[in-house]
């Protein structure tokens, strides 16, 4: 059963798209991650134009994070002030990112740029996670306790910056500049790579801003919903690269897969999960790296003239 995607302007197999959504949903349920960094590459590898993959995936992330964000909100795990500062930076970053996507597309180098971004980020994050999970597994075997990330007494350069704000839920009194810049960076990535940015946001909030872990997840989800929502609208209006039919199909598959993933995730230990996730992240990164260095089957490619250029 095939379905013609109105914006991607290609016909795609419904079952394949549902299965893809399901597989990524399973993994995101298993590892407790958003899945954007897996879904967007999978869409690109399956022949969806990269710009459409990125634009559409923002919509899917918004859908898959909104209920989590809502639950966290009701549990009072969202630091609204911090979330809004992150979001202010995020939306500005997203505006730049969406425009950059348009410009790079016109130059014909967006595919290349996306691959470079994925290789870089997945490579670095995958390697860090792999090292961390191996150390954790060794420690667990040796019987040592977990090391707390939060060391409240410590001061860093962040505390020397001006424009200090009181973030009540996080019990922090820090400058608004670092979270704003963090938001800006994540917004840029969200727009270019079609991700929610949780994989940058969460570690940065824990290690850089020293936000309590329970607040980190809620605030990050809150931020992701509004950021990906804004990014979707920006992509749709500036680049016309959001395919609502594709997004709907991915949503269905994703939610079904996440259900099974969560069950499977309960049977694995946290450090094992992180090890598997690191391996997966590195594999996707390597696949992109291969795309960059392998001789292409055809040096030439055709594309419609975009933006009247």
């Amino acid at each position: 059963m095939t379905f013609y995607l109105p914006v991607a302007e290609m016909s795609a197999n419904v079952l394949v798209l549902l299965a893809m959504g399901g597989a990524v949903g399973f993994l995101s349920g298993l590892f407790g991650v958003g899945g954007g960094f897996l879904m967007t590459p999978l869409l690109i590898f399956s022949g969806i134009p990269p710009a459409v993959a990125v634009g559409t995936e923002s919509a899917q992330i918004a859908a898959s994070s909104v209920s989590g964000a809502f639950t966290q909100w009701r549990r009072k795990n969202v630091d609204l002030q911090l979330g809004l500062v992150l979001l202010a930076g995020g939306i500005i970053g997203s505006v730049f990112g969406v425009r950059l996507v348009g410009d790079l597309r016109r130059l014909g180098v967006f595919d290349f740029f996306v691959s470079i971004c994925y290789v870089t980020f997945l490579g670095v994050i995958g390697t860090l996670m792999l090292i961390e999970s191996i150390n954790a597994m060794r420690r667990a075997r040796a019987g040592g306790g977990a090391v707390s990330a939060r060391r409240p007494g410590q001061h860093s350069w962040i505390h020397g910056l001006p424009l200090k704000l009181r973030f009540q839920r996080s019990k922090l009194y820090i400058s608004a500049i670092p979270p704003f810049m963090l938001g800006l960076f994540v917004g840029l990535l969200a727009a270019i790579m079609g991700v929610g940015g949780g994989f940058i946001m969460v570690p940065a909030m824990i290690y850089l801003l020293r936000v309590p872990t329970n607040i980190v997840v809620g605030t990050s989800l809150f931020q992701i919903v509004f950021l990906t929502g804004a990014t979707t609208v920006l992509h749709a209006s500036y680049n016309q690269t959001v395919d609502v039919v594709l997004a709907a199909l991915l949503m269905v598959g994703g939610v079904i897969g996440a259900q099974f993933g969560t069950v499977a995730g309960e049977r694995l230990k946290a450090e094992q999960l992180r090890f598997l996730l690191a391996a997966l992240v590195l594999m996707v990164g390597l696949r992109f790296a291969w795309q960059l260095v392998a001789p292409p089957t055809d040096l030439y490619s055709l594309s419609a003239a975009v933006g009247g250029a």
Partner: protein
């Protein structure tokens, strides 16, 4: 446990919405199909564009009585309007025609030759070439061409160089090397004639590979003395718009008559509305996409709260 059940309801809500959307489009497509079936017989189809002056009936009778009279060709297509709906997966067009005043003794005699050219909307197209830069493959040069036929098919009774003269092919734009697309003004890079030739050849090669340029040298078959037919494949990735079908009648490399029919590929149903919405009101379309995503997530969240109590 809490959020597992929540995922369950999210699944339900999103699945319901998506199934609704799919069902809507399916029925829409069905309705369109019925409409097409009825309009096919209706008299309000677009008039065929005949290059020749229409003959009166008396004239035709007169000419039939004169064995030495000039032959003329008339043709039509099986469907003047082809609908591209959500389930569009390519289609087959039958082109049939008749030779007036046919002098050929039988279908197998090979007295006449027929050449059919089907040409899709001409458009601006960018062709890019990858180059290896420091071990990485990226698009480094490009050329923009105007008036590139989005689709181009040649069907004939025999190979075209046996039927036609080279002058004819050049002047009528018949054959892939005689396509009239031209380099657009204001190229990003200055290109040598050698480069332009490579880019032109790449367009034809890639279009052939995509099934958008087709040549079938024996696909026109005579059925009886004057009737002939040919089938042309339109692949799923074909660009919508008006198509021109030119039918040429030859005898010993001499053009006896020619006839032009138009057919039209149009988006129909939900597919058409979504495409028009996405490109006509991009910001509104983006907001709608986000609204669908958020509503799906929030509905699931609300349902979960009900289920929990």
């Amino acid at each position: 446990m809490r959020w597992r059940r929540e995922t369950c309801t999210t699944l339900g809500a999103i699945a319901a919405i998506a199934i609704g959307v799919l069902a809507l489009s399916a029925t829409d497509g069905l309705a369109q199909a019925q409409k097409r079936a009825t309009t096919k017989q209706a008299p309000q189809r677009p008039p065929a564009v005949a290059k020749e002056a229409p003959h009166t009936q008396i004239e035709e009778i007169k000419r039939e009585q004169q064995p030495g009279a000039k032959e003329s060709v008339q043709a039509d297509v099986s469907a003047r309007n082809v609908a591209v709906t959500s389930s569009f997966n390519g289609t087959e067009i039958v082109i049939f025609g008749a030779v007036d005043n046919s002098q050929q003794p039988s279908a197998e005699s090979g007295y006449y030759d027929v050449l059919i050219v089907v040409e899709g909307v001409p458009a601006r197209l960018v062709v890019r070439r990858k180059n290896n830069v420091a071990g990485l493959w990226l698009n480094t040069s490009s050329a923009t061409f105007d008036l590139v036929p989005s689709y181009y098919a040649i069907a004939s009774t025999r190979p075209i160089d046996e039927i036609t003269t080279e002058e004819f092919r050049a002047s009528h734009g018949v054959g892939f090397q005689n396509l009239r697309f031209t380099p657009a003004f204001g190229q990003a890079q200055a290109l040598s004639t050698e480069d332009l030739k490579d880019f032109r050849q790449a367009i034809v090669r890639l279009k052939l590979k995509q099934g958008l340029y087709v040549q079938d040298q024996y696909s026109v078959a005579f059925i009886g003395k004057s009737l002939f037919r040919a089938t042309i494949e339109l692949p799923a990735n074909v660009t919508v718009g008006p198509f021109e079908t030119r039918v040429y009648l030859f005898r010993d490399e001499k053009l006896l008559s020619q006839y032009t029919v138009r057919l039209n590929l149009e988006r129909e149903g939900l597919e058409r509305h979504l495409h028009a919405f996405a490109f006509g009101y991009p910001t509104l379309y983006g907001l709608m996409t986000v609204a669908i995503a958020i509503a799906a997530g929030l509905a699931a969240s609300a349902m979960f709260r009900k289920a929990a109590h």
